[in-house]
């Protein structure tokens, strides 16, 4: 009997989720033993055509990490969806957009302008920009379309399971793979590899009633290592973050940043965190409250560090007048379908 097929792919990601799987240490051998790894471009020299050659729904488990930033990643999301029985958004980038999702404070025009023009060390007198298609004597070169907006995997294709974490901790990755191998997965649509409580449940610090008169950045005070950081004025996203990670950050005196995403009943993680932070301010005076709010330089970054694409608003408002569509016409999407970079054989 043939072994179940396993695929892993990385879209807009840092590679940390690949490491997270490798970090199973000896257990990776059990995984390699159980599964037939049919696609893992980070580790081995797989090609897209290997995936295209597979029959539909033949991949039993696909761990897809990384967000969808460009047309190539979108294409692979669709392709792997076609070919996979179970598609898992593995890691926070695939689940919620992750750190790449922060790019939703900008758009293509703004990013390209910055990267290819404004940065002090860039020399680009001719304003050369990457282009989707470019003719060279040898033929045509293509690049993926760089989208204005980063999306999560589930915003592109239907997804069976979500494994949060930046990256998912070793114990949870192990648990998820073990569950797959033993055929013990919950109903599709579930978040797996995490608890149904918040990080507070994992965190062993002592928690009291919270009344804060000021918020501090972690370097500004020396916190009491045994007490809740939020109580001491250090913004910790723990109460608004799904648990199951074991609160490793808290154990080294760093506040939780929210990488496991929202707790089960929460629709918008940033909105809830914002509400909680504001609610614990110990003041009725509007001026005092303004002062406390003003002292936080980047509320968006705090609330949506990992989940901007998954939030209700998804991205910062694009002012089309500032970023007009026709300026970099070469980068405009092709009519109808997606202009795509493939390694199709000619």
């Amino acid at each position: 009997m043939s072994k179940p097929k396993l695929a892993l792919y990385w879209a807009a990601s840092c590679g940390g989720c690949e490491i997270a799987v490798v970090r199973l240490y000896a257990k990776i051998l059990d995984v390699a033993d159980f599964f037939d790894i049919v696609f893992w471009p980070c580790i081995m020299d797989f090609k897209y055509k290997d995936v295209e050659a597979l029959p539909d729904k033949s991949i039993d488990l696909c761990l897809f990490n990384g967000a969808i930033r460009n047309s190539e990643q979108e294409h692979m999301a669709h392709l792997l969806r076609e070919k996979s029985k179970v598609l898992v958004a593995y890691g926070t980038c695939a689940y919620m957009g992750g750190i790449p999702g922060l790019a939703n404070v900008a758009n293509r025009e703004a990013i390209f302008e910055r990267v290819y023009h404004e940065t002090p060390s860039t020399v680009n007198a001719d304003s050369v920009r990457p282009q989707v298609r470019y003719q060279v004597p040898e033929g045509e070169l293509t690049l993926p379309v760089f989208y204005d907006t980063v999306r999560t995997l589930a915003q592109v294709v239907p997804v069976e399971y979500f494994v949060p974490g930046c990256p998912p901790v070793k114990e949870q990755t192990e648990a998820v793979l073990q569950a797959v191998m033993e055929g013990r997965l919950p109903p599709p649509g579930s978040v797996v590899g995490a608890s149904d409580k918040t990080v507070c449940d994992d965190c062993i610090r002592i928690k009291e009633e919270k009344r804060v008169s000021s918020f501090y950045r972690p370097y500004e005070i020396i916190p009491d290592p045994s007490r809740c950081l939020l109580e001491q004025g250090i913004i910790c996203a723990g109460p608004a973050t799904r648990g199951g990670c074991g609160a490793p950050c808290l154990s080294v005196n760093m506040p939780c940043r929210g990488c496991y995403g929202p707790p089960p009943n929460v629709v918008d993680q940033g909105g809830k965190l914002l509400s909680a932070l504001a609610s614990i301010i110990d003041s009725q005076d509007p001026d005092e409250i303004e002062r406390v709010a003003d002292a936080i330089p980047d509320l968006l970054g705090i609330c949506y560090l990992f989940g901007l694409p998954a939030s209700l608003l998804r991205r910062v408002r694009q002012d089309r007048k500032a970023f007009p569509a026709g300026v970099t016409g070469e980068l405009a999407r092709e009519q109808g379908d997606v202009a795509v970079m493939t390694q199709r054989a000619p």
Partner: protein, 145 residues
Amino acid sequence: MVVPSDNHEPRIVGFLCNWCAYQGADLAGTSRMAYTPNVRIVRVMCTGRIDPTFVLKAFSSGADGVIIAGCHPGDCHYSEGNYKTTRRIAFLRKLLAQMGIDGERFRLEWVSAGEGAKWAQIADEMSAAIKEKGPLAWRENLKEA
């Protein structure tokens, strides 16, 4: 079948507390004060119930503006709910500014049960101000260029 409006009349969602602002809006009704139909009201028991998520949901679902109206400070039917609202709105306003939704589209007002005229005036003012700014059209914002 509801036809989307063509004339860009703003759609404003109002979250009004049951005891003060909602009653004030009712008073505007019993007094037959005429004002814009552009504000649609969601009743909550206290503005303290308002989760910033509701406001984000309103904007992401197509609202051009959101207004929260509750009891004057000190008069909250539940003692202090509106103070908590003040704190949350202060933070939310900063977040919305970073998201590119400017302050005129999001208002926090205190309207007592006797201030029907004030409610009508606020509704008209906000509708006019937002009409001038134009629709927010958040779903358009998500489209690729």
